[in-house]
Structures are given as C-alpha cells and as structure tokens.
Symmetry: C2
Amino acid sequence: MATKTPVRTILARSRAPVESAIAPKTGKVARFKSMCSTCNLRELCLPCCGLTRSEIDVANRAVFSRQRVRRGETLYRTGDRFDAIYAVRNGFFKSTAQLDNGREQVIGFFMTGEVLGMDGIGPGRHTCNTIALEDSGVCAIPFSSLQELVHEIPSLQRQLHKIMSCEIVHEHGVMLLLGRMNAEERLAVFLLNLSKRFAARGYSPSEFNLRLTREEIGSYLGLKLETVSRIFSHFQQEGLISVRQKLVRIVDNAALERVMGREKD
Amino acid sequence: MATKTPVRTILARSRAPVESAIAPKTGKVARFKSMCSTCNLRELCLPCCGLTRSEIDVANRAVFSRQRVRRGETLYRTGDRFDAIYAVRNGFFKSTAQLDNGREQVIGFFMTGEVLGMDGIGPGRHTCNTIALEDSGVCAIPFSSLQELVHEIPSLQRQLHKIMSCEIVHEHGVMLLLGRMNAEERLAVFLLNLSKRFAARGYSPSEFNLRLTREEIGSYLGLKLETVSRIFSHFQQEGLISVRQKLVRIVDNAALERVMGREKD
DNA sequence: CGGAACTTTGACACATATCAAAGTGTGTGG
DNA sequence: CCACACACTTTGATATGTGTCAAAGTTCCG
C-alpha cells in the first residue's frame, strides 16, 4: 500500500483497533482465532495501547475472530444488524453513507490499527457501508464481549471512550473541511492527513499509493472527480507534489501546508 | 424558546443528557446540587431513560452540579481542560470549531436533554467552544464520576456508548449535508431537524423561534448569510414556510421534505 | 490484444459568494 | 418613553469557483 520504512508509532489520530474473539456471522471469507497477546498490532492498536500486561492477559480470555475481506468486498452494509466493531489488521477500507434518494458519499477511510463500525452501537444497526479497497484483514470484536471486558478492565473502558470521542473530533475536522475550505485546501489537508497516517504505520510519509479513484477522493471531499484531477495537476505544476496515476509523492510538504494559509474570512 | 404544547417524548436524535453532582470549577454563575431522581428531565435524559428505578437510586449517590449559563456566555472553550460532560437542562447552545487561521464554523446546536462536551474525552482538552444562545442551564457531569457510575450500572454504560455513537451518526448526516446537498436542501433539512427536536420536547413542531442569526445558520450549513436569507425568502414565496425575523413557521411540512427529492446524482 | 475503467483537459454553465446599499429590529442611556 | 446606535436582515448586481458535458488519452486486466 505504500513504501515500507521502519517505524512504529502510536496513532495520533481518530480511530484505532482492539483485538478479540467469539465467532461472528458475516461469512464472506476465512476466519481465524486470535489473541491480543500474540497480535502484532499491539503497538498500533489503541485499545491495547493503554493496557498493562496483566490486563492483556484478561483480554486474552476473550478470543476475537480474524476475518479476511478481499478487495471490493463489503464488511458490513447499511441496515445490517450491529453486533461487532472491527479493528483493521491490514489493508484499507472506505465507508459510505447514502441519502434517501440514491446520493452517496464516502464518509471515511480506515487503515491498519483503526476501529470501524461504531456507527452501529446507538442505532443497533449499521448506518453506513464499509468496503475493502484492497485485500484486507480485520479483527471482529463482538460488542457484547467488549462491554463485558470493558467492565473488568477500567483502562480499556477509558480507551473505548477515547476512541469514540476521537472519532467525533475527527469528524468535526471533516465538517470544517467541507464547510469552510476551498477545493485546493481540501485536497491539501487530505494528502497531509494520509501522509501522517502512513508515517505512523511505518510507511513513507512522502510517497504512497492511493488506492482510491479520483471519484472516491472527490466524494469524500465534496468535490467532483474532474476537480480533484485538475487540482492534482495544478499542485504538480506548482511543484508541491508529483502524481502518476495513483502514486503520489509529496515534494514540498511545507508548501502543501501553506495552501491552508492563503485565505480570508 | 418555542410555543409550548403538551408532549413528552424520548429523543429520537443524537445526543441527550444525564444528571448528577460534585462541584465543578467553571465559576461563571450559580450552582445547585441536584439528583437524578428529582430531575424533571428524566424522561428526556437519554442516560436516565435507560435506567430502572433502583439504578437511579445508585445514580443519586453521585450528586451532579447544576450550572447556569447566561446568553452569550461560554460554557467551555477550545483548550480548556476536559473534566466534565454536560447535559442541557434548559436553553440552547452552539458549538464552534476553529481552523488554525481565524476561520470558524458552527458545528452543532444543542437543546434540552442533549449532551455536550464529549469532544474532550479523547484529547483530554476541549476541542471546540460552546456558547449559550439564550439563558440556559446545564447539569455538569464530572467524567471521572461518570466512569465510576457506569462501572456499577451496566445499562448506563450502554447508554453512554449509545449517546456517543449517535453523535457520530449524526455527524455523518452533517457530512452528507455539507458534501452533497445544495443550499435549499441544506436549509430544508435544517428546519425539519429543528422541528423534530422541538416536537420531541413538547414545543410546537411547526412554529419556533430560532435563536440564531442568519450568519450562525449559514456557518453551520456551509453557506453565507445572504444565501440563507435569500432561501428563507424563497421558501416563503413558495409557501413552504413563513418567516418574520427569527420566528419561523413551517407551513407545508411535506413540501419541505420534498425539497430533498428534486435532484440528480 | 482489446475493452473497460479511470484520468486528464477544455469549453461552458450555474450556484453561491461577494460587494453594496437600504431596510428593519433591538437595546441602552438619557 | 423616546431616540439613537448598532446589529441583523433583505435585496440587487456582479464575480467566481466548481460543476457539467464532452472528448481524447492512459492504464489495467482479462
């Protein structure tokens, strides 16, 4: 998904994953049992990040199930009964929401270590669709188990609250983006955000392979694909980035950050 | 704030309030002690809605503090240390978030029974400003107490998760609004949403006093005040609503809902 | 190798922003 | 209680950013 370089960092961002067991029912692909203590995501996984070793031992009692989701497959869709949240083990997902009439919008992207599916907790059913953009793996965490677990491990409870709160804060940022930024700013913010998230996972922050079409990017940013394409070209002309199809290289990070600054209001 | 009519309904919407004690530190105005069992909001208050009588007795042990916030006063602002969430007892609030440069946007409105301040849980500091748009009262719920309480009352825990999840879902809706709707649709959705929320609180769904300026409405909807004004006029000409300054009457609810339908994509 | 899916670029249209000015309401102090 | 100032709203004329439509170019994948 991007150029691998050696780094391991805690997510500074919105969502993040948990680990655990009990068989789900989605049934698209292979499932494995897994335990938090043997999960190689532990340093990325926000829920686990806050846990002591002995707390992880408790968490191990709950065995969460791994699930593979192939590119283009749906992890869950609007209206599906909610019974688990998901931690991304590897790969890349998008979530989309739709209006009554057919209109649809990408409302989020999720990568390794991030947590998916919290939209279903309140309503009891999922309220968006989540689709793998490349072959991916998730850890399915039955929410009822998680609630029990959280009862025994106060720090896990705090982590869960944090994850949900950070999702809210992240979405405030998207609201600002959609409500107050012009097309160039939106794209700059988007690229910088991806860059940071890749960096946090040990990938190159300056060169990555977007697994998104111009249309998906545009949908997320409230723009049309042609506009996205034009601005990519424009940024390239100005020497801020270089684009070749889906491969993006950030040439002048500082200038890209400055795109945000050149406005009124 | 709106024409009173006799109704009592559980919120069908995003956020909702809790009740409780322990003195805070904000210090703008008067504080009272209060208990959930004597709170007249119990039927509106999402946290309490899910509780049995005996659970409410447990909750009573925690005494949350009431706080008055006068029109124009700030409940909390960006950067303030987070230590409590707030249930609106009465009145009306707006939250605003700001970009690095001065740009600012209204990101939410809150009325009786709704819960404020969850943006601070993850970061440990508030990430937006919350201001009373009329003389208001809140119930300050120290988050540490709430976490203990939640530990003893599983159904309260579930409610807390639901409230946060519903906030996330609500924000997805705002993202769709900002990303995919034209100005008329945005305003129609906004008015219908307010209408439902007023109705749920026993106020008239068809006539209410917006306590917002055109600019605040526009800020929330990603529009300029002139555009908001024009569309109010336009809706009025078409006989969908009647507006006189801040007083809005929804004349043709069905037609207002139909505004959403007349598009492509 | 061929076709489908995606991207780029151009010309033009249109929704909303911007600028401007007049109108209306509201609160305060005399 | 009036009057004045200020804040907000309305409306018009015009500007502009992004959408729309169209066509050619590129890449991907079977």
